[in-house]
């Protein structure tokens, strides 16, 4: 067999991995790959307007489809622009492969033009990374990168690819298997440990299932649902777990934690058994650690041993894949009544429901509810930015299906939602994709409006425009004496800066401004009917807060309520 270039090996290898879409931005040292793909229509290259947009799009694609997202950037500044997105994917365990061009091998370490040590920079924020120094290693490296990204606890993998390696030639043979001595994730749960959980359920009077993003990652929503229904145990999910259990089920407690429902937090704090599945006891979930679920036996099912007993001491750990372990448990469980417990939960649901002041004013929670009401029976994906918009979107929309919620949980990356929505729309062309945004975070990657318009991706951007960086302002209101340092966006009379309607129009998108409650549903319907991307600029109540709220460092049953 003849020799082919590194660039050709690269493209062939990606095809062997089933890659259909790449999000990226060109530059000097990845021209050989671009040239190789120029006549190729098997893989679609989506040109974003910033590398950060590309990496978030790859991430959003991965979250919406379950496939590995792929992004590409040039060396130096192109590559460093990926860093926030790689860290975002790393914190949320999202499988992406990021490819960066690198300067010529012989120039590495020489402060060459557009040189940055990407394997060094991304070492703590990738699951693994590679610098390819020999074209003969390229196919094997790509095989390993995709394998590592999608297996075990998924995560981002970076491949740094010097330009000379793209041009050097080698024989191409794509490896069939991967053999990594130090990487053998455990999928099957230990049967003895599983039995211990079953026993604990039998003894328990007040059990709660606390499910995280691992449910989504391992495609275990169905298994979780049948586990909960078979055992009659209520379920709360983390922000990352939204959609992993149908929130319209009577067993659902909604989300727990800092902005979780009061009844979820009370249930967790009063539980005598917590079954954590694919979740990691994040500080936004546990609040003050020494008071978290202190009467409960903690069982924890996770594929990552380093998640177990990291923050909360676990009594019954099961290392394994959530789907596998749930399947095993479903064979062994029996239905129990837990009557008194369900009665108590019902009481909490009645006493401290998730509510907001639903008056004549244009409130953000109402808009989120209307998105759901006006798109009933449609395939909808909700992406969000970060801050109040994200929490309202998490609280006031009822998620029933996995991979319909796309949000930066762990890193909390502003500017994530819109490019992630682009990736989601590419992966799910039939879905209606909304980006629920604030007027602050939407501006962090607004340039991607050009991508959405040129690629004809009909994303519906919902700006909950309050003229503030709302979540920080809320903290300042509650804990800093209303001293709104740096959080006022429409200061010095500069309201409507920018004018989002005109901004949308300047990109060739549709812009709508909504100031009245009664116009909300109509605007959303118009936006959905519109073929291209739409910005809906909702001018909302300026100082609306997200409640309930657990102040940082407090016990999670110690909540602030807006209305009580």
């Amino acid at each position: 067999m003849g020799k082919i270039s590194g660039a050709e090996i690269f493209v062939k290898s990606l095809k062997a991995e089933g890659v259909e879409h790449i999000f990226g931005y060109p530059g000097g040292v990845i021209i050989p790959i671009g040239d190789q793909m120029y006549d190729d229509d098997e893989i679609t290259f989506h040109l974003t307007r910033h590398e950060q947009g590309a990496v978030h799009a790859a991430d959003g694609y991965a979250r919406a489809t379950g496939k590995v997202g792929v992004c590409l950037a040039t060396s130096g500044p192109g590559a460093t622009n990926l860093v926030t997105g790689i860290a975002t994917a790393h914190m949320d365990s999202i499988p992406i492969v990021a490819i960066t061009g690198q300067v010529k091998s012989s120039l590495i370490g020489n402060d060459a033009f557009q040189e940055a040590d990407m394997s060094g920079i991304t070492r703590p924020i990738t699951k693994h990374n590679y610098l390819v120094k020999d074209v003969k290693d390229l196919a094997k490296t790509i095989k390993e990168a995709f394998h590592i990204a999608r297996t075990g606890r998924p995560g981002p993998v970076l491949i740094d690819l010097p330009v000379d390696v793209q041009m050097d030639k080698a024989e191409f043979k794509y490896p069939k298997t991967v053999n990594l001595k130090g990487y053998k994730p455990t999928y099957k749960g230990h049967s003895g440990q599983i039995k211990k959980i079953i026993k604990a359920i039998k003894k328990s009077k007040r059990p709660v299932i606390y499910a995280g993003g691992g449910i989504i990652m391992s495609e275990a929503a169905k298994e979780l649902t049948s586990f909960a229904r078979k055992t009659n145990i209520p379920v709360t999910t983390t922000l990352m777990g939204l959609g992993g259990f149908p929130e319209d089920d009577s067993l659902s407690l909604g989300m727990l934690g800092m902005h979780g429902t009061a009844y979820a937090n009370h249930a967790v704090q009063s539980a005598d058994l917590i079954i954590a599945i694919g979740s990691r006891f994040d500080d936004r979930v546990t609040g003050r650690l020494d008071t978290f679920a202190k009467d409960a036996i903690i069982a924890h099912i996770d594929i990552d041993p380093s998640s177990v007993s990291k923050n909360v001491q676990v009594d019954v750990p099961v290392i394994g894949d959530a789907k596998n372990v749930l399947k095993e448990m479903n064979k062994l469980v029996e239905k129990k009544g837990f009557e008194a417990w369900h009665k108590q939960i019902k009481k909490w649901k009645k006493e401290v429901p998730l509510i907001y002041k639903d008056d004549n004013k244009l409130r953000p929670q109402y808009i989120v509810e209307q998105i759901q009401k006006t798109t009933k029976n449609e395939d909808v994906i909700i992406a969000t930015e970060v801050g109040q918009n994200q929490m309202w979107a998490a609280q006031h929309y009822t998620y029933t299906k996995p991979r319909t919620w796309i949000s930066s949980g762990g890193l909390g990356t502003m500017g994530y939602g819109f490019p992630a929505a682009i990736g989601a729309q590419v992966g799910k062309p039939g879905a209606i994709v909304f980006d629920i945004a604030g007027d602050g975070s939407i501006q962090m990657n607004i340039q991607e409006l050009a991508t959405a318009v040129t690629e004809k991706l009909p994303i519906k951007i919902v700006i909950l425009n309050n003229g503030y960086l709302g979540m920080v302002r809320q903290w300042q209101e509650l804990f800093y004496d209303k001293r709104y340092a740096w959080t006022v966006l429409d200061r010095k009379g500069a309201t409507m800066c920018p004018d989002f309607v005109k901004l949308a129009e300047s990109y060739g998108a549709k812009g709508l401004r909504i100031t009245k409650k009664e116009d909300v549903a109509k605007a959303i319907k118009t936006a959905v009917k519109t073929k291209g991307p739409v910005i809906m600029d909702f001018v909302v109540e300026k100082e609306e807060n997200v409640f309930p709220m657990v102040p940082a460092g407090e016990s999670i049953n110690n909540m602030l309520h807006g209305l009580a």
Binding site: S119, G120, R123, P124, K127, H128, L131, I148, L180, K181, G182, Y183, D304, P305, S306, S309, K310
Partner: protein, 159 residues
């Protein structure tokens, strides 16, 4: 905080040492010593790390080490019996004949060895465990230590 001796078996590749040491530095742990060498399998290297750490955080570091793709095995030797050695070279001032005789006597009374004899200095090699190394340093200190070079501890589980 207490001292731990951790052995990490890794793939013999570039970049692995940085990944391993990065997990310690990211948590603000100072590595006391670190020794790397090939094992009986040329594709596998062994890193021996001595670190002063909080036990609970170290537990997490060990799990994180295991998570690294290039790490094959992590062993906390401090959890059981182990044999350790460190090679140390001590260059000590020895200008007068009298001093030189005294130093030779000290060295003879131990298992150390004089490996270089300069006009004004003697260089002594010691390659035993931590206690022997520390004792020798203290015996030689009064004569004026010019320079100490040490390899860092290596350790193996005792059977």
């Amino acid at each position: 905080m207490s001292k731990f001796v951790i052995a990490v078996l890794v793939e013999n590749k570039f970049g692995v040492l940085a990944r391993v040491s990065g997990l310690f530095s990211a948590r603000g742990f100072n590595i006391d010593s670190l020794a790397v060498g090939e094992t009986e399998d040329p594709e596998v290297s062994r890193i021996t790390v001595v670190v002063d750490a909080d036990e609970k955080i170290l537990e997490q570091v060990k799990k994180q080490l295991n998570k690294l793709i290039d790490v094959i095995k992590v062993e906390d030797l401090t959890a059981g019996e182990y044999v350790d050695r460190e090679l140390i070279l001590i260059k000590v001032k020895a200008e007068s004949l009298k001093t030189r005789e005294k130093i030779v006597k000290i060295v003879d009374s131990t298992k150390a060895e004089i490996v270089n004899s300069g006009k004004k200095t003697l260089t002594i090699e010691e390659a035993r465990d931590e206690h022997a190394v520390r004792a020798l340093i203290e015996l030689l200190r009064p004569y004026g230590i010019v320079e100490i070079v040490r390899t860092g501890k290596i350790a193996i589980k005792a059977d």
